[in-house]
């Protein structure tokens, strides 16, 4: 009999909303010192670090935009995904009542906020992936704010205005264009998730999926790994800086992934993740639940 995990999922949501993962926090702390003392960019980074500490201490949302909740559930063979979905949805409504989450689901046709972060079949977004029966249940959650979601972009190559052809040289050009167009509006410093290929839908989904990995992990393809590092470095040359105030750190990290495409299509999709990079994971092995 599969356990009722509603309370454990509620705790996953609380942690995700109020406490940034260590890999992100370390990068943000390191970025403070890079900005000129007394500059607006330095002030913004100092405030960001204070806010991270305060949110964790008080268990309040890091950002008032608690974002689109995106769940990836890796469930052992034999588990009921219907029950897991019900438990995730119950935890989502409860987390909203407890103010871990802002009521964020608005019916786009009738302009009505549902008030509990549940809306239709697609809010919250839940992806299920079956694993072997002897594996633990793993639930990953990302909360992606609307400001950064709005500055994400998709390019269909060739993009002649940028001189971007259907190769990695072209990918580099459109990604840099996306960062320049975003300015500070995605709450820089951000992290870039880049998907090359797919159709429009799968390309967007993949560009977010890649953001579940820790910052600093590189693509196993050496050419893509080099491009990831080069893009981060060149994006920072743009000088947009924290909040777009002008400064040294615009992008903390870049992640690139590929997927198969049609001969006719060559999409490059850039998902921009704000500095409030809320991403957590829970692992359930028997009665034991751990969070990281």
């Amino acid at each position: 009999m599969q356990p009722n995990l509603t309370d454990k999922i509620l705790e996953l949501i609380r942690r995700t909303s109020s406490s940034l993962p260590k890999d992100i926090e370390d990068r943000l702390r390191a970025a403070v010192e890079k900005e000129e003392p007394g500059s607006a960019a330095r002030g913004a980074m100092e405030t960001i670090v204070k806010n991270i500490e305060l949110s964790r201490e008080k268990s309040t949302p890091i950002c008032q935009d608690t974002g689109t909740p995106i769940f990836y559930v890796h469930y052992p063979e034999g588990w009921s995904t219907r029950r897991l979905r019900e438990q995730i949805r119950a935890a989502m409504a409860e987390s909203t009542a407890k103010s871990y989450m802002r009521p964020n689901a608005v019916d786009a046709i009738y302009d009505q906020n549902s008030g509990n972060n549940l809306g239709g079949d697609d809010f919250p977004t839940i992806h299920f992936e079956e694993v072997d029966a002897d594996q633990p249940l793993v639930i990953e959650l990302m909360l992606k704010g609307g400001g950064c979601e709005n500055v994400g972009r998709q390019y269909s190559l060739p993009a002649n205005d940028l001189g971007a052809g259907r190769d990695l040289a072209g990918v580099r050009k459109v990604v840099l264009d996306a960062v320049q167009k975003a300015q500070g509006q995605g709450c820089a410093p951000g992290v870039l998730g880049v998907a090359i290929g797919g159709d429009r839908g799968t390309s967007y989904a993949k560009s977010k999926e890649v953001l579940f990995d820790k910052v600093g992990t590189r693509n196993e393809n050496p050419e893509l790994a080099a491009l990831e590092e080069r893009l981060t470095e060149e994006a920072n040359q743009l000088g947009i800086g924290p909040m777009g105030f002008g400064g040294k750190t615009t992008v903390i990290d870049t992640k690139i992934t590929g997927l198969h495409r049609l001969p006719a299509s060559y999409f490059v999709t850039v998902s921009y993740m704000c500095w409030a990079y809320r991403r957590r994971k829970m692992t359930v092995t028997g009665d034991d639940v751990t969070y990281d």
Partner: protein, 208 residues
């Protein structure tokens, strides 16, 4: 650091310059996408008939916004056992979405400041000079930190827009912001956009 308290005079506004850090104090009103669209359609352009409590809210807003500040914010709010509201998380939302409306709203209500993030465009910058008003940039995402500056929630209008979109009347103390668009035509956002575009063009011209 300079401290500015609402209601704000035109002289105070004209003295503020891009890059200046400011601590804001006093009463202000939150408003974002639904609120701006509603204010423009119902009271400024009058393309929609007022309905429900629209006219009573309008009377209240005329007083509240005169000389005050609109904060682009959709907060996380808790209600305590006594029924009092409290802001738990209250950072700025992206302002550029209000670009079609902002200057007209500010002019209509004689409002002296906007707080948001990401900056605004040419129409708003012209409005800054005409009304006059300034754009105050708060740190995006710093929601728990900024919520500490909100010392009291005085009330809320248009709850039917939903919690994030409602107009919350709040009192703030030492709310830290930076002026990024001033009443003399200065815009930090225009400067960074132009300089980053030059760098981008150079980078795009480089061989792979």
């Amino acid at each position: 650091m300079k401290s500015v308290t609402t209601p704000i005079s035109d002289e105070t506004i004209r003295d503020l310059r891009v890059g200046e850090p400011v601590l804001l104090n006093g009463i202000m009103v939150t408003g974002r996408d639904a609120a701006h669209k509603w204010m423009i359609e119902t009271f400024v352009k009058k393309t929609k008939e007022p309905k429900g409590d629209d006219l009573q809210v309008y009377d209240a807003l005329k007083n509240l916004l005169n000389g005050s500040v609109i904060y682009h914010c959709g907060p996380v709010v808790a209600k305590d056992a006594q029924g009092e509201y409290r802001f738990l998380a209250a950072g700025p939302t992206t302002s550029i979405r209000e670009e079609p409306y902002q200057a007209d709203v500010m002019k209509h209500f004689n409002t002296k400041g906007v707080i948001g993030k990401g900056g605004m465009g040419a129409k708003t910058l012209r409005g800054c000079q005409e009304v006059p008003f300034v754009y105050f940039h708060a740190v995006g995402g710093a929601a728990s930190f900024i919520a500490q500056s909100v010392v009291k929630v005085h009330g809320v209008y248009k709850m039917e827009f939903g919690v994030p979109e409602a107009l919350w009347v709040i009192e703030v103390k030492d709310f830290p912001v930076v002026v990024t668009m001033d009443s003399q035509g200065g815009s930090q956002h225009a400067i960074v956009e132009e300089s980053s575009k030059k760098v981008l063009d150079d980078l795009l011209a480089k061989p792979y």
